[in-house]
């Protein structure tokens, strides 16, 4: 058939129709409005929001939701009202590939927009999603919060966490939401706002975007190819520096055992573990509460717990091993930094001029108010710069960011409910500023779980948050794949997770199998890092079991062997903004069978990794994309793509394939001898 269709209009194009309009993006319909089927609804809601240690109960009482049936098309803008003759209640200005909102009606604080959808369309994104990569068929509130424990209302752990502290969560809970999605129709849509949003992908013929404010803009991105689309989003949201070379030397080993951590690290190295860093979150010392040992949130080395730490860090570095610590945006009120920050007016207040105190369980903290430029600068310079970087730290977990209480008063006068989602970005910026102040970008490495639009330009590495120490569908090993893939599409090139998971509650503890499966997945991610978990003594540690230790040591050597490949991927990330871990469809855009896959991934263009994520399994079934031949790494068996295969997957031989036509064949094959 000869293609006789006219060339498609470029960018957003508005076409008036009887009783409405069509808005196209590079020729694809994105908004269709008719008086009897309007695309825009506006009104008022009264939200109820309760926070309990980073977990939110949120409910909206919708007072008004009026269809804006009448659209008057004027030069470069559309004026919406309920009917002809009524003054415009909302206007959309077409500005390049964006729609800017203007609301003449000041009573509006809720907006619902229906974006045209096709029945077989797939959508991805939404920030860092842990449960569902393909978001079609579900509704996703977008609000940064604790991710939840279990995240599955049918699981006993979730039930218990809910009862104990409303902490169970659900499929949509995430530390890092972002109101951006990509469509299989080769376009992306971003809502520029920090207000509470929800993306509702349940309808067959539209996607509904709900915003609890008038957003700044809707931004559209179109490309003929998914790779270009991802590149465009990375250009928009910011790009990370290259992964530091030192990271690729081996694993970052997490120990929080005070001085004993150094000896344990030595033992692990003697067992053959390749180590790039020692991460001690307890470098700030401990606080003993009835819940167990907590960290002391004053963000200075505790040389009681770590004698001569500065010298030991320097000595470790001589051996090519970096030291990493921990920090978060709170200051405990019995520490040394709190009075300094309070005296300078750097802490958020309660509206009566008093410092707002947040209860973290037997200790209270102040919230450093990053909307105050002086406070942000002080935290970057004094707390991170002087206490951490100058002390010799090469990286840290920059924890939290999701917890901005919605009732504090901030220096810039913006409602904390509106700043809540943006808080992780401010927090990332403070960390990045400190790194930059010491010219250590691309060398010092901090990692965050919280995020929102724009975190990409500040945070060099995501970590997947606090998985449960298990194989569960919604809070176990498999969820970090979904997290890497969804966040990766939005310009977050580097992702990693706690090997063995973190959260151990209600008798749920690590098995050796879990730790080994997690480690062998992590070997094929940008960063390998271990964590002792929230209850180290009740859970298996890697150095406690010879089999686990030997397996881990081998995986660190495999990881380090892949460094040349990883370095190339990192360069590609710097240049194009492509993530290291990629959904299969990114390189196989025409193979629709790949669109919903979230338990395997491409590690760069040439490796396909399908982690074993269920307990007790020693085989895995997976789909190999069409139009390529795939070589099973451990056996050399060649499989044609376009079908499912089942491979033996004993511990130590995770399902990994490389493209038969890869340039890295020799490198990949060298791995099997390790």
């Amino acid at each position: 058939m000869t293609d006789t269709s006219p060339p498609r209009p470029a960018g957003l194009a508005l076409r008036a129709e009887a009783d409405g309009f069509d808005l196209t993006l590079d020729g694809r319909l994105v908004l269709r409005h008719r008086a009897d089927d309007p695309c825009l609804f506006a009104g008022r809601g009264e939200e109820r929001m309760e926070m309990y240690r980073g977990n939110f109960d949120i409910e909206d009482y919708v007072v008004e939701r009026s269809p804006l049936r009448h659209a008057a098309i004027e030069a470069g803008r559309i004026a919406f009202s309920s009917r002809p003759g009524e003054p415009a209640r909302l206007r959309l200005h077409i500005e390049g590939n964006a729609l800017r909102f203007e609301a003449p009606d000041a009573s509006i604080n809720r907006l619902w927009l229906r974006v045209w959808a096709e029945a077989d369309e797939h959508v991805w994104g939404g920030g860092e999603q842990m449960s569902y990569f393909d978001m079609r068929g579900r509704r996703f509130p977008l609000w940064t919060s604790e991710p939840g424990v279990g995240r599955d209302k049918t699981s006993e752990i979730t039930f218990r966490a809910d009862v104990a502290g409303r902490a169970g969560g659900d499929y949509h809970n995430t530390n890092y939401p972002q109101p951006t999605f990509l469509s299989s129709r080769r376009y992306a849509l971003h809502v520029e706002t920090s207000a509470y949003c929800a993306f509702d992908f349940r309808a067959s013929d539209f996607h509904e975007i709900e915003v609890w404010a008038i957003p700044e803009r809707l931004e559209f991105f179109a490309a003929p190819d998914f790779l270009e689309l991802v590149e465009a989003l990375s250009n928009r949201f910011g790009r990370q520096p290259p992964l530091p070379d030192w990271v690729m030397e081996g694993a970052i080993v997490g120990l929080k055992d005070g001085e004993a951590s150094f000896a344990r690290l030595e033992t692990m190295r003697e067992a053959g573990v390749r180590v790039s860093g020692l991460w001690c979150e307890d470098w700030v010392g401990l606080r003993h509460t009835s819940f167990g040992a907590r960290l002391f949130w004053d963000w200075r080395a505790d040389e009681g717990r770590y004698p001569n730490l500065r010298a030991r860090i320097a000595a470790l570095r001589e051996e090519g091993i970096r030291f990493l610590g921990y920090v978060n945006p709170y200051l405990c009120n019995d520490g040394t930094q709190f009075p300094e920050a309070e005296a300078a007016g750097y802490l958020a207040t309660d509206g009566m001029g008093r410092t707002a105190l947040v209860d973290f369980g037997e200790f209270d903290c102040g919230v450093v108010d990053f909307t105050n430029p002086e406070a942000a600068a002080w935290f970057a310079e004094t707390v991170i710069g002087r206490n951490m970087l100058d002390y010799g730290l090469s990286g840290w977990m920059a924890d939290f960011g999701e917890y901005l209480p919605i009732d504090v008063h901030l220096a810039n006068g913006v409602d904390a409910k509106l700043l809540h989602n943006r808080w992780p970005v401010l927090w990332a910026e403070v960390n990045a500023r400190a790194v930059s102040s010491r010219s250590l970008s691309g060398d010092a490495l901090f990692f965050m779980r919280a995020g929102y639009t724009g975190v990409q330009s500040h945070c060099p590495l995501l970590w997947g948050g606090d998985q449960s120490v298990d194989f569960s569908r919604h809070d176990g090993l498999v969820t970090v794949i979904c997290a890497a893939l969804s966040s990766g599409l939005l310009g977050n090139a580097y992702h990693h997770s706690d090997i063995g998971g973190y959260t151990s509650l209600f008798g749920n503890v690590r098995t050796a199998e879990l730790v080994m499966r997690w480690a062998e997945m992590a070997a094929f991610t940008p960063v390998m890092r271990t964590h002792e978990g929230n209850r180290p003594r009740q859970n298996l540690q890697i150095d406690q079991d010879p089999q686990v230790l030997a397996h881990f040591a081998r995986m660190t050597r495999i990881y380090a062997r892949l460094a040349p490949y990883l370095r190339d991927l990192s360069q590609e990330a710097v240049q194009r903004g492509l993530p290291v871990q990629r959904p299969l469809f990114l390189h196989f855009p025409d193979d629709a069978r790949t669109y919903a896959i979230q338990d395997s991934y491409l590690y760069g263009p040439d490796l396909l990794v399908a982690p074993v994520w269920r307990a007790g399994e020693t085989q895995r079934r997976l789909y190999l994309p069409q139009e390529a031949d795939w070589v099973h790494l451990w056996t050399g068996d060649v499989h044609a793509g376009g079908r499912e295969v089942t491979v033996e997957s004993p511990l130590g031989a995770p399902p990994v394939f490389f493209r038969k036509d890869t340039q890295y064949q020799n490198l990949f094959l060298s791995v099997i001898k390790i």
Copy 2:
């Protein structure tokens, strides 16, 4: 102060105000409408409803909720639209004390009305509510369904029931909802509709009524006194016949042990139990499934399980003991009635002309279509009349009524979603018609858990549904008090419950204490009836424990001794529609401390009963209403009202008080010697 206010206008009175109106009822404001604070919202919703064995998942996607700001007052009616000049979307016609709805805009299928409220107002009703008697502060969906197991999302039992079959329920789930409430402002409001409704009492300044249809009418009732208000509601909704005299002779003993039931009854009588009836739900025989023994839903005596049943019923009656059975509106498709009903076209269909089959767990049933007058007549005459009444039954549990599947097609052409709430009333009517056809009204006694507006005029006795066999706050003993009080205000004079509760799941089993506490409450209710529960063999039965049996026997004698008082209450119910069990405020309307009490009740005007409803307690604290002196039944101690007292409450001496000025003093005092 001299009262110089003008006489209050009678009935509904409309007064135009700038930009709106006030509607008063006997002088009290009930609707206040202003353009900037409208009382009416209308629009469209798309509901998602899923039924799983009588449990519903219901969610509404509200497409439109438009404030109808403009109210044009015309003769006797109010025309609502969004703004002046727009055609009316809804009209309210004032007709007597009712507002009739008219919807010129056919697109409307959702309606929200704000009724004026005062901050300290209390509201009651909503049908038969199990968790909250005073409904202020919460939202109550009104949809007949299974009541739920545990009914408390923080309880392990609810969690397990939810996981096993979405059966856990919540505070608002009830077999018998009714869109009617009474206010402490001495008025009542009823919504005449069978559509899904919700009453939202969370706001301080309005009550919001949500209806998923255009309702027929809003009906208002006003009275200077709560007693008159209840009388007015009973006049409106219908009245029960007197409680049969035979019932007052003792307990109705529930046994489902086949022929052995007779011998067990004899043993109980020998132990001093006063018996008025033997209730054998297994009179229809059993079906053995993997879940255990179920009844055989064919509604005929199983003379294999009960040899010579007809003669035994007659013999029992000679001894003054009635026999009761069980029936529900389904017919199993392997029974004898099903083919007869199917051939006659009496069963609901699936829309393709096929008989709709409902899965009840290893057996399927047809739904007798009571909207077909011939089917209703057949069920009343053949199934109940011939198989049950003519066979000698004097009563039965008329089970279910909440389960009309929302996707069946009915003879009268009405959407099953609209008939769902009304189904219990149709079911009650079929039962009542059968009783009436044998002129046995006031003698034959059936009891139902399901209900809706109008069930009052057909069903002679409510039972409180399937409590868990425990003391739990939301599904245990205490909930049947709330059920009796809320339903009693709406014209249901007689209420009772399964002594010892019914639902035993997940290892939750009856204790002797529970059975005894329940029995001693039941002695002070209109009907004492036992139930073996859903798992008889795993649960304590009254005749298995000598202490329990002796305690029960004594309680049946106390119950029987109170017959003269109960008979007077029954006469009062017939004459005025007042319930036997009454909230304290009904006789103490000016004592606001009584408004929220739901764990004690007046048994008629002269007895106050405060059951011990927590495990392990042998004292009870309770409030005695002011302006009366109260005599503690067991000790004779006199307490002045208007304060809380604590009384010793060992097993066998439930907290019961009588008014010092009662005419029944001698009768009451005679009880203590039993």
